[in-house]
Amino acid sequence: MNSKSKNNIFLQIVLWLIILAFTVPTLWLFLTSIKTRVDAFAMPPKWIFKPVVSNYLTVLHNKSFMHYYLNSVMVAIATTALGLLLGVPAGYALSRYNFKKKDDLAFWILSTRMAPPILVIVPFYLLFRRIHLLDTLAGLVLVYATFSLAFVTWMMKGYFDGLPRDLEEASRVDGATRLRCIVSVILPLSGPGLMASAIFTFISSWNEYFYALILTGTRSQTVPVAINSFITFEGIRWGEISAAGILILVPVVIFGLLVQKYLVSGLTMGAVK
């Protein structure tokens, strides 16, 4: 497609109307989060009003919410660390070595993401109940490896494929071992790939709901599960829910926009470059 061609004015307006439609729901959530209760339920809806931070203060002072927020942070970091630890070497091996059944193995790793969560949750729940891993952060991290490992392996395989082999050959001629090559030549050049894999794993762990809903309890809940605690018997406290929602969205949206360039290859696990 000739990307230099410019849309005419009419098409540009259509495009921006569509973009606007996609932006309004999030914008509305944000506006609700900085409205007083009265303003939030005003009809017709108010677009201009005096913003307040009281909803955010209520959420930030809510001890259990912050506890669950921290749980989410810890689970996401641990999931990412485990994913990188196991996935990066595997991705390197799939990229650089040839061995029998390599393609089958690579496809099997990819296919582990296909399993419907409802299939694996029953065994995990029953097993965790027996070995006392229910309602623990460690248990959740282990289950999250079901998606993070395939993710990191495939993304890093794609990234390593893009690095020329000459790099290693040169330093191996100089007498460096394979391990040394990886540590001091390949990894330093893989910054963007590692960063993108890490952020994707972080985002998918942060956003995950199904496993967290079933496997966690009052101690290890993650924040997506906990946000429902603002839906009380008196009704839904929309101001606070919106503020909590925005606080949940902020890290993933910022991280996601940071790795925008790698978003396509990340989300399709390298199927689209």
Binding site: S3, P44, L119, V120, V122, L126, I214, W238, V252, L267
Partner: protein, 305 residues
């Protein structure tokens, strides 16, 4: 003599540790394979075994029943209702997302006012946490204070409580999915469009093809691999959709928006019928594998011809 042998061993160990031997790929892949095997193959086999059991947690009953769980599905109207909803969710959202996504991608790939900003804004829905997306839309759909009802009123349509209506709740959920995941399709198709060589368009133009003809006969066939990738990934997620449904309708009103994931979840973790829940998971796995293969084969072979 002794120290020489010691040195040799030490040298061998060092060569293994520095990945100098032929074992290297297995050292690098081994840990991943072991962990992945433990957390995917084992649960799958366990679930298949569980699907042959009558297993209720509340009465701690557990005995072998063979294929009874699968036979039960045939007569279970709720299972077929969930199947129907799964199919509607999947087909409905996939078609809309593909058409809308292609339109937006075609508009966005050309330079326009604020290209960079528009590319960032369109990403926000798919980055957002699904639970928050669900709550956001509950707020928008609110029968009294929701923004959507206000807009409906403006154009003279009556107020609706979409999420409480058996007819509209399904559509309301599909709209959420379209909002959340069309950007993903846009992103993939845009990558595809950017990779197409521009000279083929000039050739098509020289042959006198109009814009629509060029799209239909040149762009679309070349975009097949990208369309199939978007389809496969969207299919896998739409088929097992759970989080937003759980937050927005919990499968209600009644069972009007209950899909397989939702029914499977309730069966296992509300009615504590583990055997039947596992059986549903097995059926879902088979369907996912079959349809993914079909999409990949159909579209990719079409491309090669």
């Amino acid at each position: 003599m002794y120290s020489k042998q010691c040195k040799q061993w030490w040298a061998t160990i060092r060569r293994v540790l520095t990945l100098e031997t032929r074992l290297a790929p297995f050292q690098l892949l081994g840990p991943l394979i072991i962990v992945l095997f433990a957390i995917t193959i084992f649960p799958t086999v366990y679930a298949i075994w569980a699907s042959t059991l009558y297993w209720h947690l509340d009465v701690s009953a557990k005995h072998f029943v063979g294929i009874a769980n699968f036979q039960h599905m045939f007569y279970d109207l709720r299972f077929w209702n969930a199947f129907k909803n799964t199919a509607i969710f999947t087909v409905g959202s996939l078609i809309c997302e593909l058409v809308l996504g292609m339109a937006i991608a075609l508009l966005m790939v050309n330079s326009h006012f604020g290209s960079r900003l528009s590319k960032s804004l369109i990403l926000i829905p798919m980055l957002s946490t699904p639970v928050v997306v669900g709550l956001m839309w509950v707020l928008l759909y609110d029968p009294q204070f929701g923004l959507l009802n206000y807009l409906f009123n403006l154009v003279g349509l009556p107020r609706q409580s979409w999420l409480a209506s058996e007819h509209y709740a399904l559509v309301a959920l599909i709209v959420i999915d379209i909002w959340e995941w069309t950007p993903f399709v846009v992103l993939i198709l845009m990558a595809g469009l950017q990779s197409l060589p521009s000279d083929i368009y000039e050739a098509a133009r020289c042959d006198g093809a109009g814009a629509w003809q060029a799209f239909r006969n040149v762009t679309l066939p070349l975009m097949k691999p990208f369309i199939s990738i978007a389809l496969v990934f969207r299919f896998m997620d739409a088929f097992r959709w759970f989080d937003t449904i759980y937050v927005v309708t919990k499968g209600g009103p009644g069972i009007a928006t209950e899909n397989w994931s939702m029914y499977g979840y309730l069966t296992g973790f509300s009615y504590l019928n583990m055997g039947y829940s596992a059986a549903m998971g097995v059926v879902m796995l088979i369907v996912i594998i079959a349809i993914s293969q079909l999409i990949i084969k159909r579209l990719f072979t079409g491309y090669n011809n």
